[in-house]
């Protein structure tokens, strides 16, 4: 087990990692920017190293500074959290070259899944069902037209180097297609430095269902069930549930086994999430994230497994703490991402939190780095925290969520707490009857 680990992230996930390290008796190093000098995890860490000015490109994304911070503190491992360098194959490679353990999969697996075209090809080879689409990148307008005609309109033009909902354009007919491809290519070039695009069938009313998997790097793998993350605004998840209100035990076991077998065949190490669009009982692979996800707590709530603990143990060479037959699901969990944004306009609202009182009680968990008197910096995401509730069943969970939202006090900045109050009044939400377009449509009518 590691003696010392450097946390190369910030905010609530940095605190999450710190907590797992402390429980494992691992000393923590908080690498942080000047803007985060008063962050909760920095104050709690055993050591802290300032690695740069506020901008992420000058601090959290600065590989040499993070490496130097490992060097001067003697950190043996780095946990990259999510976002930032967590899916940067080069970072994983460089750490390895310096004999520092990257808590995550190999650089090779990060690369394969980072390129959305190779990811899809790999998934298909491993027996994972995929969205019908182009076999590889689409390079000429003629190819685009031919392939789109085969798939059937509407089609989605996606950037190979995109992901996370970025770099996508819909074409409803051949008339739109050429323009959509051209725009997607130039935007992709600007955003990701790579203008490769591919085509996929655009599904009408799918749900976003993702499977949490874990590999031990030696062919051992388990799946930990699904999360339903269909409620999204601008492709950002806002409200997530485990387990999905629509899957049966049989469906869950079937797709779970397909994913864990794929992970085993790959020899994948660490946490990963296989994301699908689900429509009419069918699963369609969209991408695999080779890192811990923001919404991991709902899986922890229904399985009782500490995912960050598991990540660190696997990274230090240990086995998975459970086999598939040990994995049992209990109850239902929901997570709401509370952002410092106006609840109707979503204009970001950084600033000082003058009053802060998070909810508590049975089945309530708040993952947040915020405290009374803390100033949310304007340089990063606007996440205040994640409110996770667990109940014996979905109904109890919803009641508990409503109760917890009523107790949550955050003054000094705008928050999206009122949005969740409103959502809990909607029949569709209470019934679990929604898809990936639901939230945008709801927000448009408000």
């Amino acid at each position: 087990m590691f003696e010392k680990l450097l946390i190369a992230n910030r905010g609530e996930i940095a605190l999450r990692i710190l907590r797992a390290c402390k429980e494992l008796g691992i000393k923590t190093v908080a690498a942080h920017s000047t803007a985060d000098a008063n962050a909760m995890h920095v104050r709690l860490a055993d050591e802290a190293v300032c690695i740069g000015p506020p901008r992420a490109t000058d601090s959290y994304l600065k590989i040499p500074e993070i490496l130097a911070a490992c060097e001067i503190t003697g950190a043996e491992a780095v946990h990259p959290g999510y976002g930032f360098l967590s899916e940067n194959a080069r970072f994983a490679e460089i750490l390895e070259a310096h004999n520092i353990t990257f808590v995550g999969p190999s650089a090779k697996h990060i690369s394969i899944m980072g390129d959305k075209i190779t990811a899809k090809q790999t998934a298909e080879k491993l027996g994972i069902p995929v969205v019908p689409g182009s076999a590889g990148s689409v390079d000429t307008p003629e190819d685009a037209k031919t392939i789109a005609a085969e798939i059937g309109y509407p089609v989605l033009v996606k950037a190979a180097s995109g992901g996370g909902g970025r770099g996508m354009k819909v074409a409803y007919s051949e008339a739109d297609l050429i323009q959509a491809v051209a725009t997607a290519k130039s935007e992709a070039k600007a955003a990701f430095g790579d203008d490769q695009v591919y085509l996929e069938k655009y599904l009408g009313q799918p749900r976003h269902i993702e499977i949490q998997i874990f590999g031990d790097g030696k062919g051992g793998a388990v799946h930990l069930g699904e999360r339903d993350c269909s409620l999204q605004r601008r492709h950002q998840k806002v409200f997530e549930e485990a387990l999905s209100p629509v899957l049966t035990d049989a469906e869950r076991a079937k797709i779970g086994d397909i994913c864990s077998k794929a992970v085993s065949d790959l020899g994948y190490a660490g946490a990963g999430t296989v994301e699908f669009l689900y429509e009419n009982g069918e699963f369609f692979f969209i991408e695999m994230n080779t890192r811990l996800q923001v919404e991991h707590p709902v899986t922890e709530a229904v399985t009782g497994i500490d995912l960050v603990n598991e990540q660190i143990r696997v990274a230090s060479g240990g086995p998975l703490s459970v086999s598939q037959s040990d994995v049992k699901f209990s109850g239902h969990a929901i997570e709401c991402r509370i952002n410092a944004e106006h609840p109707k306009t979503f204009v970001p609202s950084p600033g000082k939190i003058t009053q802060y009182h998070p909810p508590g009680g049975l089945g309530v968990r708040v993952d947040s780095g915020v405290y009374q008197g803390y100033t949310i910096p304007p340089y990063y995401d606007s996440l205040i925290g994640k409110l996770i509730v667990h109940g014996k069943n979905r109904v109890e969970c919803l009641m508990r969520l409503r109760r917890a939202l009523d107790e949550y006090v955050v003054d000094g900045v705008e928050t999206t707490i009122p949005l969740f109050h409103d959502l809990l009044e909607e029949r569709d939400i209470l019934d679990g009857d929604y898809n990936i377009h639901w939230l945008e449509r709801y927000l448009q009518q408000r």
Binding site: V49, C50, E65, A68, E71, P377, P378
Partner: protein, 159 residues
């Protein structure tokens, strides 16, 4: 204000509350009888926010010398008086001499030119020369030889 118009404290309290609630610095209201102005000192928020107010609780006491200071403007760094110190642009280990056994680059009292190497910061076996940011006399050297330094750490003071 005339004696026949007692100051309406409830009204003034409401104005004061409004200032705090809306993060204003001043409210001024006038009618034919009375002009009222309520104001407060506010910290100006400049964009980008470089120095969040230090939090009231103490920072952790880490085992190693590389410590996160509550972010303060360079001028307020300890022991430098009014002069902003030269701060570290990177994380690494500071060395005061070009190699072990050699004389230090500079000593207190030396005159330096802008651009002159005053110390080295080493990270991952690469030596990075740190240059004086202005002409002047070395007033203080704030780091020890082979001391680990973080971004923004005060290194020395040039007057």
């Amino acid at each position: 204000m005339s004696k026949s118009d007692p100051i309406d404290l409830v009204y003034l309290q409401k104005l004061a509350d409004l200032i705090v609630e809306r993060d204003l610095s001043e409210i001024e209201i006038e009618d034919e009888k009375v002009r009222v102005r309520v104001s407060r000192e506010t910290a100006t928020v400049s964009v980008p926010m470089a120095a969040p107010a230090p939090a009231p609780s103490p920072a952790p006491a880490p085992a190693v010398t590389a410590v996160a200071e509550p972010a303060t403007a360079p001028a307020a760094a300890s022991g430098t008086g009014d002069l902003p110190p030269l701060t570290s642009p990177m994380v690494g280990t500071a060395y005061l001499a070009p190699e072990p056994g050699a004389p230090n680059f500079v000593s207190v009292g030396d005159f330096v030119n802008q651009g002159q190497t005053v110390l080295i910061i080493e990270a991952m076996k690469t030596m990075n020369q740190i240059a004086a940011d202005k002409d002047g006399i070395i007033k203080q050297i704030l780091v020890d030889n082979a001391q680990p330094v973080e971004y923004g750490e005060p290194l020395l003071v040039i007057d």
